[in-house]
Symmetry: C2
Subunit: 384 residues, 2 copies
Amino acid sequence: MRDVAVIGVGMTPWGELWDKSLRTNFVESALLAIQDAGVDKVDSMFVGSMSSGVFVGQEHLASLLADYLGYGPIPAVRVESACASGGLAFKLGFLEVASGVSDIVLVGGVEKMTDVNGSEATYALGTAADQEYECFHGVTFPGLYALIARAHMETYGTTREQLAMVAVKNHEHGSLNPLAQFPFKITVDTVLKSVLIADPLRILDCSPITDGAAAVVLAPVEWAKTLKKPMVKITGVGHATDTIALSDRRDITSLDAVEKAAEQAYKMSGRKPSDLSLAEVHDCFTIAEICVTEALGLFPKGRGGEAVEQGLTRLGGKIPVNVSGGLKSKGHPVGATGVAQIVELVKQLRGEAGPRQVKDARVGLAQNMGGSGGSSVVHILEKM
Amino acid sequence: MRDVAVIGVGMTPWGELWDKSLRTNFVESALLAIQDAGVDKVDSMFVGSMSSGVFVGQEHLASLLADYLGYGPIPAVRVESACASGGLAFKLGFLEVASGVSDIVLVGGVEKMTDVNGSEATYALGTAADQEYECFHGVTFPGLYALIARAHMETYGTTREQLAMVAVKNHEHGSLNPLAQFPFKITVDTVLKSVLIADPLRILDCSPITDGAAAVVLAPVEWAKTLKKPMVKITGVGHATDTIALSDRRDITSLDAVEKAAEQAYKMSGRKPSDLSLAEVHDCFTIAEICVTEALGLFPKGRGGEAVEQGLTRLGGKIPVNVSGGLKSKGHPVGATGVAQIVELVKQLRGEAGPRQVKDARVGLAQNMGGSGGSSVVHILEKM
């Protein structure tokens, strides 16, 4: 297997983009990534999208996007693993280059979520859960994460304020990211007084509905060396699944798929949590970030809330988490999120992150998750 | 890269399966394949499904199915390329084994199409076309293929009767397949008098709406040799895309994605059309089979209709096409079709196809197509 580098990244501003279609969003980000990579051709492409069929009535997505990029007849694959679709597309792109099947691979993620109304969007997001055994009985995604939050609070003493502090931190980071959907600061008080969605989660505990795309270009490290640019290598890859339904888990505060995916990625890269300069993790809800940082081994089980309170995960802290603003402030166009995490890591590792730059960033981890943890992919990237 | 074999196949009867959910259909076929393979574990899995989100409101599909098979936490990937989703899942499964990432890989395809009504199904299938530039203006899938049929008739003199003969042949084959949705014979007259759908295509020119699944198990050839069973090796793999919209093609009677995918598969396997013992091709409409057999090089351009009339593609003919009954008689649960083609080839190459056995079958080709030809995958399998 060959070593693989990320040689280009591209992302346009996220938000409620009513004047741009899914294909426009994707193509704009893809062209930025290709321009950044400085390549004039792509051998194949992988696209992550969770539910373009339900959101905009369009499947056959990878072929359509290859077509609109002018890249047909290249092989194009769309992969889906709910909100982990982007990260999974990245994993498959990595294998495509590592195995020698393709040299230059475009990996993109995209979702157009605001062409439907709120209840339709809630239905579409519910397709990531067990439709027949969870959603059928009325539970929504905020409802599932509210159950996790309540269990975490009861078992480990995590406080309502600590949950809010995740949102406050990520908005503080996001205020430094010009591509973020909500680039402004909030306070714990704003979160606690925001409208209740699913007790104990309030609207400011939830990531938003977002239109957006992100793209990266991969190539063999040997080839990338000729580019005379800062080199970012993929050193760790992990991917695992768990039960779809929360009720089937051994413990709903534990994310086994994240733990197992992280274990694989740490093993492959020879890295451990204390080696990380930063992590981009799946904070679809504030409680998710707390559970994920524990599953990644950044903090002991049950201590994720405390870590946020102590400022350990802030920019400048022990291990900055979601310096991009995370899903919470940057936005969460589901299929694009996993690829955007890679975009942020590459910018940070290249030292191009401007006011939110993590000092001397050398090793970054990206963790992307489907549904309530039914699947997860973890990648480790390093500056060479 | 390692040589890869198909060591197990599984498929349950297809049809309007109102008493079985998507997950039940999938798991039943998968367990048959695993039993046939004689393995007690699977390292990873790939699932092809076109539009489980629109049909049954369920995404996050591969994780859900790994969960219901009891195989979590294995990595599970769902891929989508419209009606070519199953064939594409097979391609990725092949690469997973060939590259050495996994040893035993389960590849399955599934679609549950009858939980929605006819107009909803037409909408769902339209997601394989260009939603914004084709479907928005009112064209349906039968409409797109009717345009192709009309152009083929005008340009090459293909007759209405020759189209009907494709359906008659495939139903004759399907009458020998106990798993087929419509295992009965029809006549040219029945087709010509059946209800008009999109001129010149009548209902008996169209593949049906079907519930069903199919699954296969892959392993390295070296490992498969220990099984002491007839060995079926994957010798050729091809995958290409074309414009999504028919209006963007250089010639709507030519399927460039099929031609390019076939070219790759022939080159990799060192085979040519005259080496083939049989072919399973994507006859979503009668005209599709004619265009595909031409694109595969089985017959000269424009002569596909004549070939059917001369009986060249019948069981016992020069190159039997769709001896399983094809999409037309066996059924077309879109995401499952590409995997079911592989199931048929393996049964034929092992000599286990009963009354529809192709005599001395040694080399088989499977061709699976998305939309009106926006993507296609071609595989060549050989008896070792």
